[in-house]
Symmetry: C2
Subunit: 425 residues, 2 copies
């Protein structure tokens, strides 16, 4: 086998492969000895702690031309990784990758190339670190009709929201803490704008439903507009705000795919998932709800997922087979969130004068949005109105907000956050 | 394929296999059409809703002699199931079973017979209903060194303890509720004495550690002695009492296997697992903590796990291979709980008179059990002393309790419940 990448995951993987206390168990699980012939890196002259110098090579193409059974890619990026993986697959080399961006962008194409050339393409490490959710969707749940996958799949934003909930931080402070602890990048947009979570939704929904939808067909909203007052309202009302990645069947042939903050009821298993932990909640027609929880990131945790894939690919290679990809359900189409209905939490700052509530309530009514409860709090000359709606079409809720924004008595429209149903069980 | 058993799981499975909306996905996942040729039952003249009459047969041996690829066993019991499964495996027929008693008793022997005859033996449905934990241990985590598996693997007792915690019921009332709702049998001993959980610990620890230990080498304590006052003490102290099945490495070659009530700190993912839900918490050296959660029982949930196994076995059959069982680690030996140390909650009812606390504390000291905190509550002429110890050897704690029982000033010794450490993460 060969490895591309000697970052945190790559070095942790090499460490696992060369750990003498694991050697017997690995050979047993792979049904053959695993031999690492090279680690491809951009610059082979840089020291890579834990990786023997003679394994390092900057000739990645040359590494792939060796007689590999399995190629592991933990370098990240789409360019130049994609052509490397394609060329390996075309040679019949099974590929294990933890590259979520790549798999979200062209996972289906790569899976077809793998299948055509009798190779496996596994990518457990691309979603949820060590959490073995992808293999479960591919195998254990292959016979189940999954209705919804709902995950806390970005540790950075979950850390930020947890700090805002339990530590009382505001968004800026919580982000600064996340950056100080290394959970968030200097430019945090991939996390806080929901791009990372959207890539994981693309991967999860492709496996859960066999969709062939493009990664663009995911509605995406991040956490940057969540305010302390929204977090406090959630807590008072028996909820906690989480950034969820959701893929959900709508009717017979529709699929909604989206990333957005949501009010999750306390008591729901996802509500207790705190800090940088990830969790994926899956609902099936017969299986009932299932949840997977674990560390969503970290070199060592991700390396265990990669290693599980390597062992699976090795077993397949020894027995001369490969896992066929799902053929996919071409009939499934994307349903934009505007056409879905949900309970919503809305907050509106208004001028504190008589008649304003009636005016605001009138706007809700004109757009068929029925109010479940309302809380008014004084802010000096302003008042803040916090609403929980009944189930309402998102398009109607957005139209309500748009009309409210145009009212002279409305100072600003704040949050618009979907509320997740309590579990009936 | 053939099925033995037409109870809740069997009928749900037949329903899934004959569901026209799943037909395409099943054939796709199995890489071949699945054809059900017969359902073996004790009395084929009884009506079995959902199962076509012409499939029913009381000639189970004859069913096995048909040209089956996969035999599913969801009848339960060890006699006469075991010889049926053995004879199928010896014919090279892959076997899928949800029979936890059988797998706990002779899973290793059956796995060897399967391997010798080129067949698979899968049993995901035997632990945790629909939760796909066994396949994850076999495959995704095959390269990881697991240090501890800790599960809420019996829904009946978790329902009872949840009722005692959230509903304020005492044990008898909670058990009666569980019986009224069908969660507990008229004779509840298999659940409340921990036998069911012990069978699952046997299965989990065999897979997690590759042990070859016998099912007798599991320390077992049920929930029958848990009192409302223990539940209330736990709540006051930031814990919740759960019946845990635990398998844990002790040093290089030891394994502790046990079922016992434990005080689980609030904030631990297992603390939020309520009602009849099951969950398995797995800790690995590199993966960090992982948890699986789902419905622990129910015909339909279990049938989805069985179906996942059937698809896996079918794929293997089509590609002419089978999954090799772990060779097992014969060096691992069982470590009795007495030799382990833990923090303990102990409660002792004493005569309320001066000097008694000093006397009781002296007994703790003589047995090297150090007290972390003590709470005294008056009960009229008696007083109840509730202790949390520091980490202490279980043998020393038991010796302490034995000596306390012999004191004239001690009315009775109540709970002795291990306290689970908070997660450091």
């Amino acid at each position: 086998m060969g490895v591309i990448g000697a970052g945190n995951v790559g070095r942790a993987l090499v460490g696992l492969l060369s750990d003498p206390t694991r050697a017997h168990a690995l050979e047993d699980a792979a049904t053959a000895p695993l031999e690492l012939v090279g680690v491809g890196v951009r610059d082979a002259t840089l020291p890579r702690p834990g990786v023997a110098d003679n394994l390092l090579t900057s000739d990645v193409a040359g590494l792939i031309e060796k007689d590999l059974d399995v190629l592991v890619e933990v370098a990240g990026g789409v360019v130049p990784t994609r052509p490397y993986l394609e060329s390996a697959l075309r040679r019949g080399i099974s590929v294990v990758t933890a590259n979520k961006a790549l798999m979200a962008e062209c996972g289906t194409e790569l899976a077809l190339i793998a299948h055509e050339h009798g190779a496996d393409l596994f990518y457990e490490g691309a979603v949820g670190g060590a959490i073995p959710i992808l293999r479960a969707l591919r195998t254990s749940l292959a016979g189940e009709r999954i209705t919804r996958v709902m995950g806390i799949v970005n540790g950075t934003t979950n850390f930020i929201l947890t700090q805002m909930t339990t530590g009382g931080s505001d968004y800026r402070d919580a982000l600064a803490q996340a950056q100080a602890l290394g959970y968030a990048e200097a430019d945090p947009s991939a996390d806080v704008e929901g791009y990372d979570a959207a890539a994981k939704v693309q991967i999860l929904s492709t496996l859960a439903f066999g969709t062939r939808l493009s990664g663009d067909e995911i509605d995406r909203e991040g956490v940057t507009s969540i305010r302390s007052i929204d977090v406090a309202f959630a807590q008072r009302s028996g909820y906690v705000i989480k950034l969820l990645g959701v893929a959900e069947r709508v009717g017979e042939t529709g699929v909604s795919r989206r990333v957005h903050p949501a009010m999750v009821p306390l008591g729901h298993p996802l509500a207790a998932v705190n800090g940088a932990t990830n969790a994926v909640f899956v609902e099936g027609v017969k299986s009932g709800p299932l949840m997977w929880l674990g560390q969503g990131a970290g070199g060592e945790a991700t390396a265990t997922a990669v290693l599980g894939d390597v062992l699976d690919a090795a077993r397949n290679r020894v027995s001369g087979r490969h896992d066929a990809p799902f053929s996919g359900d071409r009939s499934l189409h994307y349903v934009p969130s505007e056409r879905l209905s949900s309970v919503y939490y809305l907050s509106v700052d208004v001028i504190d004068q008589p008649g304003v509530l009636a005016e605001v309530a009138g706007v809700f009514g004109r757009h068929r949005v029925s109010i479940q409860s309302m809380e008014q709090s004084d802010q000096g000359v302003d008042a803040r109105l916090s609403f929980l709606t009944h189930h309402a079409l998102r398009a109607d809720v957005l139209a309500t907000l748009e009309e409210l924004t145009s009212l002279a008595s409305v100072e600003s429209v704040g949050a618009c956050i979907a509320v997740i149903d309590r579990l009936s069980a």
